[in-house]
């Protein structure tokens, strides 16, 4: 028998499973609609729904990760208004934050625009926020700014922050009890963005605003005079 590439098989298996999660989510939606908001099981259902959504988002991340790592991903960049982009992210992730009684907000200049791959950055931001949801005490902040021809998107929380060792050479610790895939994914996504031979990158820091951890994703932008 011809030897088959196991990562390709895993990727398509994930895809199959992801579709099933989608079907479950639809069914849950009908159940929720049929049940009415007063029902005592409503809270439980919402929890299940949030877990399934998270599962779905994680599998999306793994699929992109697979493509990025196997060079099978075509980057599709476009110009976005960051106010809209971050508003979308908060809108999608807000229910998960509410379910954990955490605040999730964003801040950026209302006129700030950036050039990036929307789907990748959506997956990166949601991965980072899901991670922050596990460590934050009360608050998570997503912010964006432009600095020296880089668009900088930061996800910060008010948790314990990175352990000292993490900020050096052991990214595995970043996702406690996890494999560090999230960070690796963020890094691959950032470095996939290239402008005039300048590559994107990520930084793990302490949050200046909230005191916890801060993950910043830096994406190269064209110089102003070229624009």
């Amino acid at each position: 028998m011809k030897k088959i590439d196991i990562s390709t098989i895993l990727a398509s298996a994930i895809h199959e499973s992801k579709n099933q999660v989608g079907t479950l989510l639809y069914q849950l939606q009908s159940l929720k609609d049929a049940m009415g908001s007063k029902d005592s099981n409503q809270k439980k259902i919402i929890q299940i729904e949030e877990s399934l959504k998270k599962l779905n988002d994680e599998w999306v991340e793994y699929l992109y990760l697979y493509r990025l790592a196997s060079d099978g991903y075509d980057l599709h960049v476009d110009t976005f208004l960051l106010d809209e982009f971050l508003d979308d992210q908060v809108f999608a992730l807000q229910p998960s934050a509410i379910a954990k009684s955490l605040e999730l907000e964003y801040s950026c200049d209302t006129n700030l625009t950036g050039i990036f791959d929307e789907r990748l950055m959506t997956a990166v931001v949601s991965t980072a926020v899901y991670n922050a949801l596990r460590f934050a005490k009360s608050k998570i902040l997503i912010s964006a700014k432009q600095e020296n021809n880089f668009l900088i998107i930061a996800i910060e929380d008010d948790g314990e922050g990175f352990k000292q060792a993490d900020t050096d050479e052991q990214p595995e610790e970043f996702l406690e009890g996890n494999t560090g895939l999230g960070l690796y994914f963020a890094e691959l996504s950032a470095t996939a963005h290239v402008v005039n031979d300048v590559r994107g990158f990520i930084k793990k820091e302490s949050s200046q605003n909230l005191g916890g951890a801060s993950l910043t994703v830096c994406l190269p932008q064209p110089a102003d005079e070229e624009f």
Binding site: H15, K18, N19, V21, G22, T23, L25, Y26, Q29, S30, D33, N56, V60, L63, D74, H76, V77, D78, T79, F80, L81, E84, D87, D88, F91, A92, N111, T113, I115, R119, V195, P222, A223, E226, F227
Partner: protein, 403 residues
């Protein structure tokens, strides 16, 4: 973001899976749509789009065995069955999104990935409709083929809404091509490429070179596009056009065969391959392409006489080197029947159909039937409903009939 009033908008929902269809219809109803038409496949959707106008089209990428959502989009946008002012939202899975994003030439106004909640769909649609409102003047001008006006309007829009720069630059560049300002278009696309490696800008650059007659540069850019975007099959069509102009018809044929291997359901591509193959006297390949085109034409915007007549012609050319096989004869008769049913009120069509039919019977050495057809043709000529045979045809027939 302004809250949209959906109650006056007409929606078309295209989805083959019953469960998703019911769910999406409920979502649309819940946030205010009162007019929702449903199609289960692309072919039904085309019928609906022909007879009715819609503001919002929500189409799944995967539509079962027929055309997929992207092919539907390409066809209805290319044939201008839907105006630029209408919004096309593609529903995709993670695997199909690459095909949609990679299509470059005809992209939907937006996409949404499954699974999505009602709130997400409502939000996505509101935003898309808001963008359409901002681009309204531009799109009205484009629909009227008033490209000068579209350029002026697009410049105003991008000044007011910086996030629409990409869309506006693209519209300006493509409008410049339409009004034959190739140099201006080229420099605009180049400027965009300098700061952003946008596939549409590279496509625009390649088209500019093509239209300026700089074929080598055009080819180089189309080849780059093919490398960058595995799913952008149109680049092959353009490459084939270049090869035809350069007189390299065999290469053009090979290019199109490769493109069809990647994306077999595009009827215009099948027609192009058929035409090139006919010009190369490769009637077998021509027949195969036109047969596929006939199959694809039925529910397509390109359901024209040409598709069917070309198929007949390719079979007639096969018969030049001997009688048709029974299977080929069946194909001929079934396509001829379609010509009789739908396209027989045209003088030219009649003349062509008669001549191909005569060729087939002559190849079979069935002189008497060929003669009957010729007489039927002549009587139609007398009554003015068919074009007369050419002198060359008449003399060939006279010789064959032996009279």
């Amino acid at each position: 973001m302004a809250q949209q009033d959906f109650s006056k908008k007409k929606a078309l929902l295209i989805e083959d899976m019953a469960e998703a269809r019911i769910m999406q219809r409920k979502m649309l109803t819940d946030f205010g749509f009162t007019s929702i038409d449903i199609a289960m496949k692309a072919e039904t959707a085309i019928e609906l789009l022909r007879n009715k106008s819609f503001d919002v089209i929500l189409s799944d990428y995967n539509l079962g065995n027929g055309k997929d959502g992207q092919q539907l989009l390409e066809e209805v946008r290319h044939s201008k069955l839907i105006p630029n002012t209408a919004t096309y939202l593609m529903v995709t899975a993670e695997t199909s999104i690459e095909m949609v994003m990679g299509a470059i030439e005809y992209q939907p106004d937006g996409y949404i990935t499954k699974p999505f909640s009602q709130a997400v769909l409502q939000r996505r649609l509101s935003k898309l409709l808001e963008t359409k409102e901002r681009l309204y003047k531009v799109n009205v001008a484009l629909d009227a083929n008033n490209f000068e006006e579209a350029i002026i309007a697009a410049k105003q829009v991008m000044e007011k809404y910086p996030s629409l720069i990409g869309k506006c630059e693209r519209i300006i560049g493509e409008s410049l091509l339409e009004i034959k300002e190739y140099k201006k278009a080229l420099s605009l696309f180049k400027k965009t490429l300098k700061s952003r490696k946008m596939p549409w800008a590279l496509f625009g650059k390649a088209k500019s070179y093509f239209l300026m007659g700089e074929l080598d540069k055009a080819e180089q850019n189309f080849r780059q596009l093919m490398l960058d975007n595995r799913f952008f099959v149109s680049a092959y069509d353009w490459l084939a056009k270049i090869q035809v102009i350069q007189g390299k018809c065999e290469e053009a044929q090979a290019t199109l065969i490769e493109a069809i291997g990647r994306s077999p359901k595009n009827i215009l591509r099948q027609m192009e391959l058929g035409n090139i193959s006919l010009s190369l006297n490769d009637s077998t390949t021509a027949e195969m392409s036109f047969r596929r085109a006939v199959f694809l034409a039925k529910y397509s915007c390109y359901n024209t006489a040409d598709v069917y007549l070309k198929h007949l012609e390719s079979l007639a050319r096969i018969s030049d080197s001997g009688p048709l096989l029974p299977r080929q004869k069946d194909n001929f008769n079934s396509t001829l029947k379609k010509v009789h049913e739908s396209f027989f009120d045209d003088q030219n069509n009649k003349a062509k159909a008669y001549s191909y039919e005569i060729d087939i019977y002559l190849a079979d050495n069935d002189i008497s039937t060929a003669k009957q057809i010729f007489e039927a043709w002549l009587s139609e000529v007398k009554s003015g409903s068919a074009i007369a045979p050419t002198q060359q045809q008449s003399s060939v027939y006279a010789k064959s009939f032996g009279s």
